[in-house]
Symmetry: C2
Subunit: 246 residues, 2 copies
């Protein structure tokens, strides 16, 4: 059973303001909720699910926080057009104070505003074992339901930081910065990297020129046909598939 | 000026049934409409645009088919939440009877149902100069407004066929078929291909097993981290960036 006020409260977590106030976010669907139950069980606060899901997940260590709802109730909680069995209320991940970039490859995102793109990029980082992403403050919010959805559960496994990008990059003196642009060194001819910051820019504007100016190297995905550009997430996948030296 | 019946008619092209009946589709936004005006001017039937767009595009050879609308009228035509200056009504591209696969690399899509993914894949093909895509009949419709939107104008430059995939692949005797799966030959260690069919599967189900059975080779994007899979469009971009021998 689900009270009206509670449903409204959970729905309100669709908005950043309420997520920030409560320190909570929502995750939907069996795949993502299962992943979070596995990777971050202690962050799960409550799980609202239909009977079918509860049956399949009976005996889980967090079972005491599972609450049965009807299809109609689920619809009232959900941010999706077609709700899918389960909605979890999850505590935001702990923020670390310092970003350690030594000895590893990190992704840096400049103004990735589309939540689907950000979520897909988090998933790509997880695939290639890139453990952290540094986002400019104007990127989409990592806890936006559409971001969470697009990560397919990878959100608990990649560290994500938000910062004033230009200032932060100015402080990175001992690490190479690679700016992904339309003209630069062909990534397919480069050696894999064991350390560095790979910057991906906003899809229509690219990387801010002040940030490009801070890069040690411009890199590019060689174009063979006519499209003007690639989707930012697709570009990220291609660059990491060539340069990730793990 | 725009009559109510006409607005309703154009809106109806958002549905496949009406697109098929009329042989028309719609394209929205300055970038995509400009691309189509350049790449397929003879396919443009009518362009409904606000004053600002008309001013910027004055003198175009198709100007006689430009119709001025107000912001309110544009809203009535548009499929988008936030209409963007211009809606074009476009004739579908001519269908070719035969698919010629010799001497080139082609993409084959098995059940890519998400319109955004299909559109992004068309754009990727255009970037890598892959000139044709063979889709299973249950892929999203290439003229779906969301597909057209995601191609960013590449839709006029890549040939797209729909067919019963299993049967069609059975007939391809003289060409190598590469199935992209979670286990197979590491694409980063393969030589570039000048000819072949690269099959990409549905994101949650992968490639149908009957179709995998027809492949000469299974290929894979090596996974280094923990994500279960990659988005289908991202996977397509990565595979083409490694294997396209153009």
């Amino acid at each position: 059973m689900l009270g009206k006020a509670k449903a409204k409260y959970i729905q309100s977590l669709g908005q950043k303001k309420h997520r920030d106030e409560e320190g909570l976010f929502i995750a939907e669907g069996p795949r993502i909720v299962s992943e979070l139950l596995r990777s971050a069980p202690r962050n799960i606060k409550e799980v609202y699910a239909v009977k079918e899901w509860l049956k399949e997940n009976a005996g889980h260590s967090r079972e005491k926080d599972f609450i049965e709802v009807s299809d109609e109730e689920l619809e009232k909680l959900s941010q999706l057009k077609t709700p899918h069995q389960v909605v979890a209320v999850v505590k935001k991940f702990e923020e670390e104070d310092t970003i350690d970039v030594k000895g590893k490859l990190s992704l840096v995102l400049d103004t990735i505003r589309d939540p689907g793109n950000l979520g897909t990029i988090i998933r790509i980082a997880d695939w290639f074992d890139v453990s952290q992403i540094i986002c400019s403050n104007d990127c989409a919010d990592m806890y936006n339901p559409k971001v969470v959805q697009a990560t397919m559960g990878s959100i608990g496994r990649v560290k994500i930081f938000y910062t004033g990008l230009e200032k932060w990059l100015q402080q990175q003196k001992d690490i190479r910065i690679y700016a992904t642009t339309l003209e630069g060194k062909d990534i397919s001819k480069m050696n894999a990297l064991r350390e560095g910051l790979i910057v991906i820019g906003n899809e229509s504007q690219g990387i801010d020129k002040n940030i490009i100016a801070l890069a040690n190297e411009k890199i590019t995905i060689p174009k063979k046909g006519s499209a003007e550009s690639l989707n930012a997430a697709v570009a990220t996948g291609i660059v990491l598939s060539h340069l990730n030296g793990k």
